[in-house]
């Protein structure tokens, strides 16, 4: 079975160009690329899962009293991975350069806050309603997106995010609050450690689900329409249906990430739907590797962990005779690291783990220079 799919995925590198693709996404995810060494991947996966589930105990040994605080910060990375996966399914697999996901991120969080805190509905019902609302909104955004393409779609959806952000801000100011506090959380989710395990369980479940979805008819349709819309349509892939499906799935997953994020921070803020948030989502998939499940994880790790680690540096940092004001330089250092990652791993960090070197499939995909 896997061999079969691999062959399908590989066809990309031999086909010269795909004009519609905005992200020269790597064919066949890093998971699939290693079909020849299945057991190594399985071992890696098991090791990763064991580490993640043992992390609270590891942190306790490492940080002592600060363990819960550190765990709290790691939980955020898992939530980010979920958002990265959502963006990746839409952009890396179905090739829709939509920057609108941050809109769903904020809307679901606000819906959750409104339903659970103000209307006193049960938390789980509120989550469900938020996700359904995101699905409908995804359909609503996806419909017009079929006629707008490329850079136009990107900027239009970015406009949608800014629009959502300012609407949420308006809601906040007219209700006279800074941000929307979540007051009625279930007890389980209030504790750092159980929150971590809950988020971990959700993330693992979703990633496994996505792994299988991508190997189903749906995933193959997405990859086919990414590689060539014309060819996909000619082969009988219903473009409209699968593009819409990509928007809906992505919206729901982003909504889920938004709900978890609000729960994590016990507050929903309008900045969840902002250009910065969109940038974070995009950065994750571009750095991690578009069209790769592993890439979503690595991207979230980069975006979540690098600023954390930079924040841990002493300030000012003495480098020989130089006194570096680290606090001021953090953003810049992050920018430099990001640039380096993009320049040296144009196909994403997941290429490190891929068996084959990354092959550019974009139109201008060969060596340049005078």
């Amino acid at each position: 079975m896997k061999r079969h799919i691999l062959a399908l995925g590989n066809s990309r590198s031999s086909s010269p160009a795909s004009p519609g693709s905005v992200l020269g996404a790597e064919s066949g995810s890093a998971f699939a690329a290693a079909a020849g060494s299945d057991w190594r991947w399985l071992a890696g996966l098991v090791l990763l899962l064991l580490t993640l589930s043992g992390l609270p105990f590891l942190f306790e040994a490492l940080f002592g009293d600060g363990a819960d605080f550190q765990l709290h910060r790691v939980t955020l990375i898992l939530i980010l991975a979920l958002a990265a996966l959502a963006q990746n399914l839409l952009t890396g697999y179905a090739a829709q350069p939509s920057l609108g996901n941050a809109a769903f991120f904020g809307i679901s969080a606000y819906l959750l806050a409104w339903l659970s805190s103000d209307l006193q509905q049960p938390y789980w019902l509120a989550v469900l309603v938020a996700l359904v609302a995101c699905a409908l909104l995804g359909l609503l955004v996806g419909g017009p997106a079929l006629s707008v393409s490329g850079a136009y779609l990107a900027i239009a959806t970015l406009g949608l995010v800014v629009l959502t952000g300012s609407l949420l801000t308006l809601w906040d100011t007219s209700a006279g609050r800074q941000s929307y506090e979540l007051t009625a959380l279930p007890e389980v989710l209030g504790d750092d450690r159980s929150l971590y395990y809950c988020v971990l369980a959700v993330v693992v479940l979703i990633f496994v689900g996505a792994f299988h979805l991508l190997r189903s008819r749906v995933g193959r349709a997405w990859i086919a329409l990414r590689d060539s819309e014309v060819a996909a349509a000619a082969c009988g892939v219903a473009l409209t249906r699968y593009k819409l499906l990509a928007f809906v799935v992505s919206a729901v997953l982003t909504g889920l990430a938004g709900v978890l994020y609000a729960t994590w921070g016990t507050t929903a803020t309008a900045s969840m739907s902002s250009v910065e948030q969109t940038i974070a989502f995009l950065t994750m998939i571009v750095v991690g590797g578009p069209g790769s499940l592993l890439g979503s994880l690595l991207g979230a790790l980069f975006v979540g962990l690098v600023p954390l680690l930079l924040g841990e540096l002493p300030d000012p940092l003495a480098l020989g005779p130089l006194q570096l004001p680290i606090a001021m330089l953090t953003t810049g250092i992050y920018g430099v690291l990001l640039l380096l990652a993009l320049i040296f791993f144009p196909g994403g960090l997941s290429a490190i783990f891929a068996r084959r070197p990354f092959v550019h499939a974009s139109e201008e995909g060969e060596s340049y220079g005078p």
């Binding site: 004009p19 519609g20 693709s21 905005v22 992200l23 020269g24 996404a25 952009t91 350069p97 017009p144 006629s147 707008v148 393409s149 490329g150 850079a151 136009y152 990107a154 900027i155 239009a156 970015l158 406009g159 949608l160 800014v162 629009l163 300012s166 801000t169 308006l170 100011t173 007219s174 014309v230 250009v275 940038i279 995009l282 950065t283 571009v286 750095v287 578009p290 004001p325 001021m328 330089l329 953003t331 810049g332 250092i333 992050y334 920018g335 430099v336 990001l338 640039l339 993009l342 320049i343 144009p346 550019h360 974009s362 201008e364 995909g365 060969e366 060596s367 340049y368 220079g369 005078p370």
Partner: protein
């Protein structure tokens, strides 16, 4: 009536500044395929450099301006060689994210070099406080210069792209890289030149905006950039005149909305709030793009099968 004309005039000025920025955005997008989100940071960096020249060694304004524009050319060249060239073959979203990273780096460098610019400072220009009176209309000198410069630059750029060998080579490169290279066009130099030119445009726009606002800091271009992008997309992302017209539309909408909404309120909501204005502009933009998916003037998309 006069009030409306005044508003339209000021909208024209705002719009021409957006248009000027959009011009550079379109230039880069067309020639090198980069959605340049670092454009605001480029403009801000050069403007901050000018500010430092003006306040540090107290150079005369025009001399300092000349030096800053030279610096802009240099900056454009450095950015192209150090950053755009290695990423030339990368997919478009990767390049867009890379420009964002570049913007972060530029802002940090400016902050580290000149810490006084982290908070708003007064930007001195010789035109401050001077104004033209046209009939009953009032036009500050900085605004007049902005209008004039945009018109002049658009005209020059059009002439350059239509009539000169270099301009035609640039258009050929934008059209088809392979063909251009086969015709013996040094595409590497063309890319370098496009970035330098765009950086120069950014610098001019930055200085004009700073002269208009009279107050700058490291991030003073950020709120402007997104609106300039909207202008560029409305204009179709592929024609220079379209970019300027798109910018003008955004600027006019901004000012007319300000006039219409001022003093009104909806329940507890003050409609004169700039946030509402921005919301409306974005809503209008999204709607407009739905009706005309390739901008106001964009034709049907041609797709190679």
């Amino acid at each position: 009536m006069l009030a409306l004309l005044q508003i339209l005039l000021s909208g024209l000025v705002t719009g021409s500044l957006y248009g000027l920025l959009a011009l550079g955005i379109v230039l880069i997008y067309r020639t090198t395929g980069v959605l340049n989100f670092a454009y605001g940071a480029l403009a801000a960096t050069v403007t901050c450099f000018l500010y430092v020249l003006l306040t540090g060694p107290h150079l005369p304004f025009w001399q300092a301006l000349l030096l800053s524009l030279l610096f802009a050319l240099l900056l454009g060249a450095v950015v192209e060689r150090g950053f755009a060239r290695p990423l030339l073959a990368a997919p478009i979203l990767t390049k867009a994210i890379a420009t964002l990273a570049l913007a972060l780096v530029l802002q940090t460098v400016v902050q580290a070099l000149w810490p006084q610019l982290t908070s708003p400072v007064h930007f001195p220009t010789p035109f401050e406080g001077q104004a033209l009176r046209l009939g009953g209309l009032y036009l500050s000198l900085a605004d007049g210069l902005a209008l004039l410069t945009t018109a002049l630059l658009l005209g020059l750029l059009q002439l350059f792209l239509q009539r000169t060998r270099l301009g035609i080579a640039m258009r050929a490169t934008a059209d088809s890289l392979e063909a251009a290279r086969l015709m013996g066009i040094p595409v590497g130099l063309i890319f370098l030149f496009a970035w330098m030119l765009a950086s120069l445009l950014a610098a001019i726009a930055g200085v004009l905006i700073a002269a208009r606002q009279t107050v700058i800091d490291v991030q003073f271009m950020d709120p402007v950039l997104l609106l300039a992008f909207i202008g560029a997309v409305l204009g179709g992302l592929d024609r220079l005149a379209g970019a300027v017209v798109g910018g003008l539309v955004v600027g006019l909408a901004d000012n007319v909305l300000a006039l219409l909404l001022a003093g009104h309120s909806l329940g507890t909501l003050d409609l004169g709030d700039p946030g509402i204005r921005q919301t409306l502009i974005f809503a209008g933009f999204v709607l407009l793009l739905l009706l005309r998916p390739r901008g106001l003037f964009g034709g049907a998309a041609l797709r190679r099968v």
